[in-house]
Symmetry: D2
Subunit: 409 residues, 4 copies
């Protein structure tokens, strides 16, 4: 049962998902509706634990879902496909939610694939692949989608979350550093200097929505976006949700430091088979992902061990991401030892609850008038913006300290 | 190079090891001498990291080693055996230390096997197996060994560390609760109510030595011993050094809590082949070990998952302890996932530096007049006395907070 | 699509399962009906591969199922439970088979728990736990069940397969060595000298059925039973289906021999959570299982390495048996190396097709008038009766040679 | 103790190693000398097992070693480096062999790096990097080295073995198909059409030596070389010794076939840190290796699963090659299951005895006048020339059948 309370209790919160037809969005939507209807418990949701008791978080039955995607599809069909693939959900449960899910389908709009690379373009609808709109026109269309959503449902507040497939990294430009620069690029229709995610974020902030970048795409939350968020009094955070191998890495790596054991090598081999895996099989898109995964160890250990993170596409796995990590380390008298682990997790199942946690916390931050980076969410990200600390435990205490601060009079 | 400083800088610290001929004691002694002679670096030693800069810790060349054992043997021979088994040390390095190690051999005395179980007795010398001394006579003899050691070397201070093989657990008795009770048991020659380790600790404290119980044997540091330490102004700590599977467990388990992932099962299978493994093949002795290993998860998670910890004797492994842990957990919508790890570490190599760390910190605590349980050492133990917290990270911060406190004026 | 041909093509084959309500029987029955109705392919079925082309094997739509069990339950309910547990089957598929499965339910009779140990008795219906019948009465009742089944369906032939939970091992007695002895024990109502499985087999053979013991229970196929099979011209085989860790072991162990690598240690840790796991948590029942698993290595390697096979009950796993094996071996110049593997398989899914393969091959052997041990089935068993060879590859060639023999004019 | 017998018993066999200063050659030489001197046993040597009893194989004390390399270095130094890295050999043992090893050093000559790629060239001596000889001059020089070796030691017979680092693959040309073509290429000084290994083999065969290509380099044993071997009555074999992950793969893959389990995916991740690993970090050289590793599964299974074999250079591992393989397969009713294994082996230790086995068997084949491909050695190679069968067990029976054939009158 979800908690009630505070000023969030009475109205509705709009949750707008970029990548609304994907496995993660599907899992979030199905899960949130199951919880709202009392069909599922709260495993995986941190905001439903004792640590958050008494904090006024939006209840699950007050969430209204919509979003953008680049290919047609219904939430129910996507959920049935996940069921066949991984065994997640029950068919009977999905049937009971049919009307709820169809209502979400009615709120999914066509987005943009601007400068996303050939692999993502190959997944998109014909209309998007052949579109001729200017950047300014695209932003205006995205804004109109958000405004319509807000109006149709009489929403209290709006949170936009980027769950789209990983774009190739964008090379930094001076114009990215401030909101004025971003606006210049849009006005000049500089299609090479931005990517789809840059436009989604602009539209979200201009429409007064909080924004979370759950992907590694660095174009989604540029310094200029953060400047705009500060101006508008909106909270934002990114990049790249920490759900699997990197989560384990950030929990384990401090152990070596606490014992002055020297990590010589940390190899990480990831295999997965969902649409994300397919996009990551494109070397250009993969570069974004590897970059955020690889930055954790040097930060925690204080030196850079030999390290490699690889991601391979293995269709038979579907969404069951499997990772093997091999850690070679030296102990006393330079003796060599090793630790290896195999992680077998369902990506969407791991990510969905932390996205739900974060949107509730973004809603809370908005209600409190907090603007700019939500550093308290660092433990949820592979590369938390504005936070140097990469150790999971220290990051987690950043969140519990924040919550404790809310309880003080 | 080791640090200098404070009142420890000038004199010698006696280090008396119960189990002085075992692999761990051997590794400690060889390692400390190599560091003192500049033949080895400080990997694995926390007290040599930046976090301890400026803290007045005893330098390695001021440590003098001696100890008790229950079977004859030289440190050099034990080190050569470990070299053959695991590849630790170089033969040339050991040769260079020959005189140092022979000096330690001259300070090893015969101890006691009182009530240690048949397996430990089987390892002991004939003299010990057939001895007729009363408990009071044994304590007196142990004390005389310590006093002689202190006198021969003009020691500043003495730390006694229990590294002996695991004894069977002793059943709690009212007499264990206070020092008066312990003294009554000794006077009445109640051989069933105490074990060898109880007598070693008594002798140590009566002789004014700090004491550390690195083993799971619960008879080594009874409440009565702690009372005596308080009376005499001596620091003590135990139980059971945390070096392998449990170390990883205490680093990883909090991750599940930070994500509200429900651990259904945590199975841990340990295999090892050294003398400790041989003793643990005896079910009675193993009971002590399993008890301390098994208490970690419920404490960290807040509920008790299905769990099993097994230890099997595999002679071919020698001291290369290998552990496979399988963790089965539920995420969002009760979806089942798993994490497994394989740990391959050399037990003595992992334990030696933390024993060296702790004896330096016990020396420091003694110098500062701190008496009773050294709770700041919790991160080094599987079952830290007087400390509820089992998460590695929180325990580690207990130590860094203690050190930070020393720096304040 | 299944193959047609030979004298088996026209009539019906009765398949009588001891343990008819268990997960394995359920999977067999559901699978066979799905194949018969064209709803499933032939993965896992060796008899449907090219190697068996042209061999006159009974088609799947000619199989009629019935059996004994010791607790009430329907096949459909058991299948739905497996679906929830492991994701096997689809709910829609099971619904489509509802009538087929109800027809099987109508052919399930109450069996016997004679001398099966407390854990199995605890699972049984009240009637069985309190029954007063003599051994002769039980055998007569079991025979009547088989005869009725044969008659109701006008069966061509009957195969009985023991899939019941593992019994404790029975100690060898002179009376077990011949059929006369077994009959004496039954007549004298010697309840301590036989177990339930001994009676099922007697009944099967007396009724002219071929018999397969898929369990480790050594009471199921005693020398006396084999003598009776020879007399009656009936084929039989056992013991203990080879489906998981032991299958891998028997495939891998020869590799070490082919390279003269010396296996020092082979540890195998099995964890599983189904009803079999629950019964094996009872040390007496487990003894049977461990015995058959442990005999493989010495046979293949020609010497006995240090070895341990353990089985632990882990409820969260359900039928997803997981095994970790650690193999420590010496190569050239006695250098130590290791291989470890983790097997994650669904027991019923692995076992069902080989039981189906074997019953078709038993039917074939019966048609050909082959009596006594079916040594050609050795590759399917952990302890194949009458066959010394334990290497998987050599065993498999025993089967392909047999099939090749059938093709010769 | 090695066996005596036959016409090999009296004289000396010359063993000429291409890559004589590498870890594998070092291990072979040290091991052979230790066995000859009774300092080591025969673990890892198949030719010393019961299966070869009575076969007239050259005793170890009759082997005389020499070879080519491309960088200066002594066998003793290389052995001491391996000792430091992996713990192989004892320092005392190596000291006892000092004179033997220095005698080998005196028989090591500078070879050629023709067209081997930048990474191998970077390892070579300055002289080789700047040499100006024509192909014909190089072949002549190599031949002279072999002739001198044969003469100095009065050798009975000569076997040349290619153990050099992996070259990039050579693209097939019509001239490679026959010995006439190869000679044309040499005469025309076509440096792009051949690689170093092509010249070593030519020299060996022209000098009447048997030849074994233990590397993946496809230029070492071209069809033209085999034609020349047939003409000269010399036995040859290749390619690429099967020592680690592929060995396990070829032992395990048949298991899936024997149960009609469908392998969907077989991913193999190899990490290693020796000079071979360094050369394989060059993508061009790696291409040869991946090609031979990847061809095994399709052959055994009869269909091509999704598969990837990667090799990464991890310096901290030295020669301790570690591989993680993940096998995803479908069983009955298309249920998905998995098997994963981790192999931790010392490459040189695994390879040395099979090279020793093969040179003895090549010597035997030479004595018997067998010319051309030694198909009986298929089980030792990743891509055995002239043999389709990739299953380890069937390949091994090819060898035992050959030996059995020798015993028949």
């Amino acid at each position: 049962m979800s908690k009630q309370g505070g000023d969030q209790g009475t109205g509705k919160l709009g949750v707008w998902l970029i990548g609304a037809s994907g496995g993660l969005a599907t899992t979030m939507i199905v899960g949130a509706r199951m919880i709202a209807r009392g069909m599922a418990g709260s495993t995986g949701l941190l905001t439903e634990t004792e640590a958050f008791a008494g904090i006024p978080l939006r209840p699950f039955d007050a969430l209204v879902f919509g979003g953008h995607d680049i290919r047609p599809g219904s939430v129910l069909d996507a959920a049935l496909e996940m069921h066949r693939d991984t065994g997640a959900f029950s068919v009977a449960g999905l049937e009971a939610l049919r009307a709820d899910l169809e209502a979400v389908d009615a709120e999914i709009r066509s987005g943009t694939i601007l400068n996303c690379g050939a692999t993502i373009e190959g997944l998109a609808s014909v209309e998007l692949r052949t579109e001729q709109r200017s950047l300014a026109e695209i932003v205006a269309a995205l804004r109109a989608d958000l405004a319509g959503f807000r109006q149709r449902h009489g929403l209290d507040r709006l949170v936009v979350i980027n769950l789209a497939s990983t774009e190739p990294p964008v090379a930094p430009m001076p114009e990215h550093e401030g909101i004025a620069g971003l606006r210049t690029l849009v006005a000049a229709d500089r299609r090479d200097a931005l990517r789809a995610s840059s436009l989604y974020t602009l539209a979200a902030l201009e429409e007064g929505a909080a924004f979370i970048n759950f992907t590694p795409s660095n174009a989604a939350l540029l310094p200029g976006h953060v400047e705009l968020a500060m101006e508008r009094g909106l909270p934002v955070m990114g990049n790249d949700g920490k759900t699997g191998e990197t989560l384990v890495k950030s929990a384990l790596a401090p152990m070596f430091k606490y014992r002055n054991l020297r990590v010589m090598t940390w190899q990480g081999y990831n295999i997965l088979g969902d649409r994300d895996g397919q996009v990551l099989a494109d070397e250009r898109n993969k570069a974004s992902k590897i970059a955020t995964k690889d930055s954790v160890l040097g930060n925690i250990l204080g030196y850079q061990p030999h390290t490699k993170v690889s991601i391979d596409y293995v269709p038979s796995l579907g969404d069951m991401k499997t990772a093997w990590d091999f850690i070679h380390f030296q102990g006393f008298l330079d003796f060599k030892m090793s630790l290896q682990f195999t992680w077998q997790g369902c990506d969407a199942i791991l990510a969905a609850p932390i996205v739900l946690d974060m949107l509730r916390l973004a809603d809370l931050a908005s209600a409190r008038g907090e603007a700019g980076l939500m550093r308290q969410l660092a433990s949820f990200f592979k590369r938390p913006l504005g936070v140097d600390e990469q150790g999971l435990h220290a990051q987690f205490h950043g969140l519990t300290d924040y919550i404790a601060g809310l309880r003080r009079p």
